[in-house]
Each structure stands twice: as C-alpha cells, then as structure tokens.
C-alpha cells in the first residue's frame, strides 16, 4: 500500500464490500467512511443539535429572565420546564460519550426491535451530545448581552420573540463563535469513539489499515495525526476569517 493509497483510504474509508450492504437502507447511508464520515457526523450533529441546544437553552430558567418559553402561572409553567431542561442537560452531560455510543448501538434494538443504519444512530447520539453542550454555550452567550440593549429594544415596542431573534441572538452569536468552534473541534475528535461500534470513521479506518500494514504503523499514526490536526487548524482559520468579516461589516455600518 503506497502512501497515496493509505491517505486515500483514511480520507474515504474502505469501500463497502457487497456482502456488507444492507439492502433495506439506501446505499449512500452505508458507503461513507474515513475522514468524510467523521466530518459528516460532526456537521449533522450541528444541524440537529443546534436547534435542540437553542430550545434547551431557552427553556432553562435564568435569573435575568432569559427563559422565554412558558410564563409563570400559565399552563406551561416556566419553572417546571426549566426543571426538565436542566435535568436533560445535566443528565446527559454526566454520561461519558463512550457510554452514550454503546447505549445508542444497543438499546434501540434491544428495547424496541429498531434496527437502524449505523450512521443514523451515530448522528442521533452525537446530535444529543452536541446539543446538550451547545445549550450551555448558547445560554452563556445570551446572558452576555447587556440588559440595557434589551430594555431599549423592548421600549421600542419589539415583542419578546423579536427581541430574541433581532437583537439578542445576533449579538450573542459573535460572543459564542470561539466557544462554538471549540465545541465543533471537540465533537469532531470525539467521533473517534465510534470505532468501538465499528462505524468506519477515521479512527476505525486507521485501525483497519494497521492490521494489513503492521510495518507502516509509524507512518499511519503520523498521517492520522496530520489529518486530525489540519481539520482543527482549518476550522480555526475559518472562524478568525468569519470574525474579521463580521467586524468589518459592523465598522462599515
């Protein structure tokens, strides 16, 4: 196996042999592997985990009145909702991702007889994992916005939701950006635990390559390290660019 072949395998994973194709699911859900699978799972965990995080963050009771879902005394009691959201967030935060992954690949079938493609379960478990941590970041970002601005907005006659969408979230977004990037890199690195359930992402692929290429172990480790590192580096360049562009736009206005 040449250097280029090894790199290609790590980026795309091993091709799926026909014996491993489960004809009940679409092929594209089974074919992805290697680095791209790790990135796909990370991406989808933000797509599904982001909204979940926002809902959780908004549900949680905040001394400064951040909670916008449910009002005291009404049917949707704010405190009860906050209570539940807190339980979900803190409960999931206290479970190691490895255990979450092992549970996700075991319980749905055992309890409900639900057999799902591996990538679907991986995305589900990482969406929850990501959403729970992201909700903490969003909550902090929202409370970083000065109350004076919100009061001003309210005085202008904006509704609670308008204050949130037009004023609060856009300002909070910039404050949250570095933390969200850190979270993205953490989630990307954590996809490596999927190797224990044989999901063919980067780490599992590396384990497979190692078996057929024991002599090139050092080179393999170096390549894997470089791939993980370059993704993290690319992410951080992207964020600093984004931040600079944002700053420019604000200054221009």
């Amino acid at each position: 196996m040449s250097f280029m072949e090894m790199l290609h395998t790590l980026l795309w994973g091993y091709p799926l042999p026909s014996e491993m194709v489960d004809p009940r699911y679409p092929l594209f859900l089974q074919q992805l592997g290697g680095l791209w699978l790790a990135l796909t799972i990370t991406g989808f965990s933000f797509l599904f985990g982001g909204p979940l995080a926002l809902v959780l963050a908004l549900c949680r009771y905040d001394r400064h009145g951040a909670s916008l879902v449910g009002q005291p005394g009404t049917k949707l009691d704010r405190r009860a909702i906050s209570f539940l959201a807190t339980a979900v967030v803190e409960g999931f935060q206290s479970i190691p991702i490895m255990i979450l992954v092992l549970m996700a690949f075991y319980l749905p079938f055992r309890l409900l007889g639900l057999r799902l493609p591996a990538i679907v379960m991986a995305v589900a478990v990482f969406s929850i994992y990501n959403g729970v941590y992201l909700s903490g970041i969003i909550r902090l970002g929202l409370s970083a916005v000065e109350t004076g601005w919100l009061d001003a907005a309210r005085t202008l006659g904006l509704s609670t939701w308008q204050v949130l969408w037009r004023i609060r979230l856009p300002i909070a977004m910039r404050a949250m950006l570095p933390a969200v990037l850190g979270q993205a890199i953490t989630v990307f690195k954590d996809t490596s635990v999927l190797a224990v359930v044989a999901v063919g992402e980067l780490t599992y692929t590396a384990r497979q390559v190692q078996v057929s290429q024991p002599a090139n172990y050092g080179l393999l480790l170096l390549l894997v390290l470089l791939i993980y590192w370059s993704v993290a580096a690319a992410g951080s360049v992207l964020v600093s660019r984004l931040d600079a562009a944002w700053r420019k736009r604000l200054a221009g206005q």
């Binding site: 803190e90 075991y106 044989a198 002599a215």
Partner: protein
Amino acid sequence: MRWLAVALIFGATGIFVGIKIDSFRKGPGAGAGGADQRSTLDIVKEEGRVIIGIGQEAAPFGYRDKDELVGFDADIARAVASRLESYVGRKIEVVFRPVTDETRISWVQSGEVHLSLCHTNITRKRLANIDFTVPYGWDGKGVLYDLRKGRRNLDDFAGKVIGIKRSSSSEGEIKACFAARGWAMPELRQFDSHIAGIQAVVDGQIDGFTDDDSIIICTAMKAGHKVGPGGILAVTGTPYSPAYFGIGVRKNDSAWRDVLNYCLHDLWSSGEYKKIHAKWFGPDSICPMPLEDHQMEPFVKG
C-alpha cells in the same frame, strides 16, 4: 433541587430499561420485550436473511485486503451461511455486520446480529452471557524462536530470556506454566509492540518471544520473516495456553445453535473445513499453524 430532578428522571428511565433487559435475559420465550423473543432460527426463516457479526481488525481472522473482506473467520462465515439454506428450508440473504471486541458479545445478546464470528475464545465468563457452537478454530500461546539455532520445545526455554508484549496476559500465563512444571523461571523482557519483539528474536537479542501463536506468526510473516519449515523462525509446538474459538449465538437458543453446529459438521465432513484451514494456516499461508492432532469430528452418527 436540580440534582433531584436529574436523579428522578434518570432513575426512572434506568429502572424501566433494567426491567426490560431483565425480562430479556431469561432468553427466548420468557417475558415480554421489544426485541424478538422467538428462536433466532424462526426469525431467520421468516425474514429470509441472516445477519452475521464479523471482526475486521485482526489478521488472519478478519481484515481488509484492498476492497475485500478476507480472513479465516470470514471464509468460515461464508461457508456456514451457504449451508444454512438447506437447514432453514428457504433462500437466505446474507448480510455481514462488522463487530469489535467491545460489541461481539453484547450484539449477540441483543439479537442485533444473529451469530458472531470474531475469533472469540470460548470462556466460562462469556458462556454466562451467550452460548457458543462447537469450536471452529483454535489458538494458543507458544514461543517464537530462531530456527537457525535448531528446533526447540517449550522446556528448552527454562531460565532463558523471553520477550513479551507490554501488558499482555502472557506474563502471568507463562510464569504459571513454568511454575506448574517446575522448570527454571525464564527472564521476561517487555516490548512495546509485537514487531519490536520479533525483530529482537531475529537479531539474537532474546531467545524467544511469546504471545498468541496467530498474532506472532502473522505479524512476523507480514514483516517478511518466514515462520516454519524453510524459514528462519519457528514457534514451539504444544501451546501453553490453549483456547478455542466458537461462533457466538444467543443464550438458550438451542434450535439455532444446533443448525449452526450441523453446518460446521458438514464443513468438516465434506473436507471444506480443511481447505479453508489450509488457506489461512497451511504451510504456505500467511500464518502457518499446523492442524496437528486437533480434531473436529462431529457427533453426527446415531
């Protein structure tokens, strides 16, 4: 207060899940559960497909050679699957599902895979959770040595320097073996990888290196050192820590286990087993391990 909430919600979920799993533990036919309680044989018959858990991370048992899934386990799995149809009585579609050391037992328990071949040793601890078919393969620990200095047996290594892989189970096992036989204790030297220890044997720094036969032979062969007759390395004959591999099946599901046993019997009586064994463990294979006096005679008469 918040911790009370966490404890309440997770405690309730835990108890619910626990009860469900407990009802399942008792095996097919006991209590209600989400997963199918019937015999796996009935499930396979009804669905018309069998899901085989297979390891992909250990040569020569199951690994990737370019785009193909190859290995001894993989070939046995294919051969067993091809014979299943005659016992199940309908066309069966075969789906391989990769398993790892962490999931090869639990996915059999849950029914996620109908059978699993992942060079799994039959141990009492594992028998508490799943059942195994008759053994379809074996391994043991021997000592790899330099054949140029003559043929040797295990007792020739009394008081000699033997390399082991760091934190492997070989340390305790070889000590126990030598102590039980009253031989002089060998001096053990630790290595970080198998290939480093094997290289040390070739260079004459140590007298021998020990671990599972299949691992040391396969690693040495892949590194370009021929093991066995015609090579410069060899492994001592009788293993000091023998182990048998079985196909993992769900506990107390004898209808299904019988069918798989019959398939293995058929492989043995038709000679197909020996062909597969020769392909992976024959003299010219990547892991030369002779059949020696191992027997897999099926009890099919009468």
